[in-house]
């Protein structure tokens, strides 16, 4: 936190509360990714434009099918998020969905999610599955719809505007009592995928579960992520994105920026608060703020990018 560098005044922060579920906008700025608040982008288009051309929007944890008290209208908050993205002055080229598209991996939930996604003006969407997307007995519902990019493996890479994107799956090879797992096969694939790439290539890695350990007792981490990080460390700009925990947690380590996205569906408790990482019930008039408030301040020199979380209340 560095309050003096915050881009958002309290007035602007309060304005952001008007927006509900929101993704995170990433703008390519001097070769470094700058997460800024999507609500801010919608409410302050000039400010967002100054940060550079939007490259992609990350949406996460839409949990279509969830209908409990914590948010009885996840379709509505996803729709609201899509409206915000569609209302941006410059449309992002890509959408990245970091998993838990559905709540229970049901065909009808996937179908409804896909139907809602068709409203996005940006049509190119890249996905990775969350553990909620892979609970069907045969683990086929997700892959039947989104498996093509990865040849049904769940991991794949692509390039866009000079940036190398790597989508990874860490929700299948769970270990009892443990964290998410990438597995030897996937790690070997990453090594081959990155081999020969220039260290100046900006890298974006995205997965559902955090690729660093945020809170082990709740499984908020990936057990073999260190083997991935050792492969990424030589690159000058690495952005590691995930969802899963329904709240912003971020850190910067050398050239690597780690950032978890908020959910568009419902908040979860902070690490270790309560019995487990389930839906957090908040008063209805506070829900939008739990889904939508993030402030990020940016120091001008790219190497001293600062990411801040600001609480409104």
């Amino acid at each position: 936190m560095s309050d003096d560098q915050s881009l958002l005044s309290r007035r602007n922060a309060l304005k952001c509360m008007a927006y509900g579920g929101a993704g995170t906008l990433f703008a390519l700025s001097g070769g470094v990714f700058t997460p800024i608040n999507l609500a801010m982008a919608a409410g302050d288009k000039q400010g967002a434009a100054k940060l550079g051309k939007p490259l992609f929007v990350q949406i996460s944890d839409t949990h279509i099918g969830f209908n409990k008290e914590a948010n009885p209208d996840v379709n509505g908050t996803l729709t609201q998020t899509i409206d915000i993205v569609n209302g941006m002055s410059a449309q992002p080229a890509l959408i990245i969905h970091t998993g838990d598209i559905t709540h229970l991996s049901k065909p009808a939930e996937f179908d409804l999610a896909q139907q809602l996604f068709t409203r996005l003006r940006t049509t190119e969407m890249h996905t990775v599955p969350g553990e909620h997307d892979t609970t069907d007995a045969t683990v086929t519902e997700y892959f039947n719809r989104f498996g093509k990019a990865s040849n049904n493996k769940g991991y794949y890479s692509f390039d866009h505007e000079g940036v190398h994107f790597v989508g990874l799956i860490n929700v299948l090879q769970f270990k009892p009592g443990g964290l998410g797992t990438l597995g030897e096969e996937q790690l070997a694939w990453v090594a081959a995928d990155l081999k020969g790439r220039s260290a100046s290539t900006p890298i974006v890695v995205f997965a559902h579960m955090p690729l660093w350990t945020i809170y082990e007792p709740w499984g908020w981490g990936t057990g073999d992520a260190d083997q991935l990080m050792s492969q990424l460390r030589r690159f000058g700009s690495v952005t590691v994105l995930n969802g899963h925990i329904h709240q912003i947690v971020q850190k910067v380590e050398g050239n690597m920026t780690f950032h978890t996205a908020r959910s568009t569906s419902y908040p979860q408790p902070a690490a270790g608060v309560g019995s487990g990482p389930g839906p957090l019930k908040v008063p209805a008039d506070q829900l939008a703020a739990m889904l939508g408030i993030t402030s990020v301040s940016v120091v001008k020199h790219p190497s001293s990018l600062a990411l801040n979380d600001t609480a409104l209340a």
């Binding site: 229970l104 991996s105 609970t135 769970f174 009892p176 499984g219 019995s275 990482p277 389930g278 839906p279």
Partner: protein
């Protein structure tokens, strides 16, 4: 790998058809461990707002995602020790001992 000829049944609610019940609540299986006789049916019922699954460590049984108040049952015909996990929250573990 243990291969069992066993029944796998989804029940819409905690129906009174099983010998042993395990409640899934507050991100825990209760009780665990559980000891049953061969041929017994065990029913897990999710009482959390969050979905859970029941997945045998050796692949003997696997539920789908159980939403609130949904149940999964499995009939244990063969004696042995069966460890299971929630695949959504792998820290949730339990054990069935079949005598």
């Amino acid at each position: 790998m243990v291969i069992l000829a066993a029944m796998e049944v989804y029940l819409p609610s905690a129906a009174e058809t099983s010998d042993t019940k395990i409640v899934v609540k507050d991100f825990m299986f209760k009780p665990t461990p559980v000891t049953v006789k061969a041929g017994a049916t065990v029913t897990w019922t999710n009482m959390d707002d969050e979905p859970h699954t029941v997945v045998s460590d050796t692949g003997v049984f696997k539920s789908g995602g159980m939403d609130t108040n949904e149940s999964f049952s499995f009939k244990f015909d063969k004696p042995g020790t069966y460890h299971f996990t929630c695949s959504i929250h792998p820290r949730m573990v339990g054990t069935i001992v079949v005598q």
